[in-house]
Each structure stands twice: as C-alpha cells, then as structure tokens.
Amino acid sequence: MHILEGVLSAPVLLTGAAITMAGCAVGLKKMDYDRVPQVAILSSTFFVASLVHVPIGPSSVHLILNGIIGLLLGWAAFPAILVALTLQSILFQFGGITALGVNTVNVAGPALVCYYMFSYAVRRENTFISLGSAFACGFLAVLLTSIMTAFALIFTGEAFMEVSKLVVIAHFPVMIIEGIMSAFCVAFLKKVKPEILGVAHAPIKSM
C-alpha cells in the first residue's frame, strides 16, 4: 500500500504519522532484544515482498505479507514495517515520504489486529484450526489493509464507491495468495521452529 506524495490531505497525513509514532514507540518498548534479528528478517521480507506484483487493470497490486508479519511480531510489526516502507520510498520511490505514516498504519494496523485475533488459534495443535486461522490471518490482513487504504483516500475526497470497490476488489487475488502463503508458513514453522509462534515447548493441546 504505497500512497504517493501529494495525494492525501494534511489531516489524514498527520493522523497517520501520529498513530505510526505511537505504534512504533509501543513496538520498540515491547520488543525483546533477543527478537531483533527476527524483526529485521521479517522487515526485509516485507521489503522484498512488495516487489512481487500482480498487474490488474490500469494499476497493479503486490504482495503485502502483513498477516504473517503481524502473527510473528505483534507490536514489533510497527517499527519493522516503518523501516521497510522508508527504504522502499527512498530506493524505489514506492510511496511518498510524507505519506509514510499513513502507509505504515495501513499495513501495520491490520497486522496487529491479526496478531490479537489469530495468534492463539494458530498455536492450536489441531491442524485444521491452526492452518485455517493462518489462512484467515493472511486473508484478513490484506482485506483490512485495502479497506483502510480506501478510507484514507475517501477522507481525502475521492468518490467513495469507486475507489473503495477498486482497491478492495483489486486486492482479492492477493488476499487468497497471502492466505495460502500464511498457511504454508505456519505449517512450516510449527514443524521446524514452534517457539517462534509463541509455543513454549509443545503445541497447546486442543480442547
């Protein structure tokens, strides 16, 4: 979600910047030093994932991967995504520097929501519940991101129906792809490194 320079109105930009600052403060405060490498790796994953483009209509959409990032990082998703977006806007001119705040909120906000909604369900031993919620996590994160982007544009004054429909519909393929990717990721991590999902030693017994 890279809204460019000069598209959004000042109140939207300032709100976005304020929320991003607050989110980053909480994220840095909560971030355990032992998890710094993990945050960095996921930050670079996000950085690269945005280059995977799916052309749709006159525009194009790209992978976001905020579902899995939120799931693994929680509040630390805010600083991770802010860093990646900053580098993208400097190196690739993806998104404006002034729009960084809004863009970060649009990506990291849903990541955080998904963390609270699914981090417990994903840890369950039951494969169906675990992978199902991982899929839902990836799907919902992109859905929320597209809805938030639509709202950011609407508050600036673009026509409501047209924009929101376009952004949300255009991201539908991405939602499916990311749902599947999240499910694979969770399945893989559960096998190889369950601690990363917050499972202490053994998966939580399903009730």
């Binding site: 710094v36 945050v39 670079s44 992978l63 580098l87 190196l91 001119q93 982007t149 490194k193 601690e195």
Partner: protein, 217 residues
C-alpha cells in the same frame, strides 16, 4: 541425523536460513511479473498538439487512465483517457502553462506541466481531444510541392515551417525514447539488496548498543 543435530544446536540459524530462502523465493517467483508501481507522465508538443505518454516506472504502459488538463489557475480545461499504448493527445485550448494530471486509481498519480513557451508555435484549435491515432502531420501531402517550389522563391517563414516539420518527424523516435527512459526509474537488484543490507545494518546497530550496555548475549 546430522541435520537434526543442527536444528537442535542452532535453532536461530535454521530460522534465519528459512526466512532467507523465503525471501529468495519471493525474488525468483515474480521474474515474469512487471515491477510496476510509480506512474510517470511525460508530454511534448508536436505540431499543433500536445502528446502525452504515461507508463509505470518499469516501462510498462498505463492504459485507459484518466488524464485531466488544468490551466495555471486550477481550472479544468479538458479531460480524456489514454489509449492502449498509454498515449493521449489534445489540441491545447490556450497558450498558457498547462498542468496535466494522470490518475490511474488507487493513489497512483503523476503531474506534468507543459510550459507556455513550448506552446508558442501552436495554432489554437478547438478540436476535441482524442486517442484514436496520431493525426497525420499535414506536412506529408504538402511537402513535395513545398520542396519543388523552393527553387523558384521561398521565403524564410515557409522554409522555417518545413524544416520544423521535418525535424519534428525525424526526432519523434528520439523524443519517445527520452520520454520512456524518463519513466524508467524502476527497481534494480542493487537497490533490493542494498535495502536488505540497510535493514540488517540497523539490526547490527541495535545489537551493538545492546551489547555495549553489557546485556547478556
């Protein structure tokens, strides 16, 4: 067996390797996809028309996008859509600076200003803007006569206009090339890897301060 031991002894290593593989997958998978993102608009005056070319930063075209033309005071003069080649042309309705705005939706937009200077030689017409085809330069049919007549008496003005047309025609491929290369500010592997290195470098800085404070490794 050896692999199992590795997993137990270096869990973090495995984790990092796994994610790097994931990143590599992300890079390798989309090789065929366009790395499109930023839209870029460029315009040049040719004959009596302003030609607008639009595209994404990887050089792909920006089809059926809305282009609006404003005068310096912000009044909308006309509006149109780009064709399948991402092109659009219009007859400028007045000789002032013209601000062109391209909107490809979802926050993809760009602006370009055609200066009044460039429009000096334009004959103001009020034909509707269009994208059907390039208007055939009127020079094509008249040129042979002009050249023949040049022998018995040609004034400076005629000569200038003939030269103008011919030069414009010859320069067209070049103008396009320049316009296209202006758009090409795309992503290269160097930038991708430097971005990743920046992030890892930041991680290094954080780790440095942590260890300097005397935290437990």
């Amino acid at each position: 067996m050896h692999r199992l031991n590795l997993c137990k002894e270096y869990p973090r290593l495995i984790k990092i390797v796994a994610f790097f593989l994931f990143i590599l997958l992300c890079i390798a998978m989309p090789a065929s996809y366009a790395l499109a993102h930023k839209v870029i608009l460029s315009a040049y005056v040719e004959g009596d028309s302003v030609f607008v070319e639009s595209g994404f930063s990887d050089g792909s075209l920006c089809k059926r996008a809305v282009i609006e033309v404003f005068d310096p005071s912000g009044k909308k003069l006309l509006e149109g859509k780009t064709n399948e080649q991402g092109e659009f042309f219009f007859r400028p309705p007045q000789k002032t600076d013209l601000k062109l705005v391209l909107d490809a939706g979802m926050g993809h937009r760009d602006e370009y200003t055609v200066l009044a200077d460039e429009l000096q030689d334009v004959v103001i017409g009020n034909q509707a803007p269009g994208t059907e085809a390039m208007p055939a330069p009127p020079a094509e049919t008249r040129k042979p006569q002009g050249v023949l007549k040049a022998i018995d008496g040609i004034n400076a003005k005629e000569l200038e206009s003939i030269l103008d047309r011919v030069i414009q025609k010859r320069l067209r491929p070049l103008t396009r090339l320049v316009a296209k290369s202006q758009r090409k500010t795309g992503v290269s592997a160097t930038e991708i890897f430097s971005g990743i290195r920046y992030i890892l470098g930041l991680m290094g800085i954080v780790m440095y301060f942590r260890y300097r404070k005397g935290g437990k490794p």
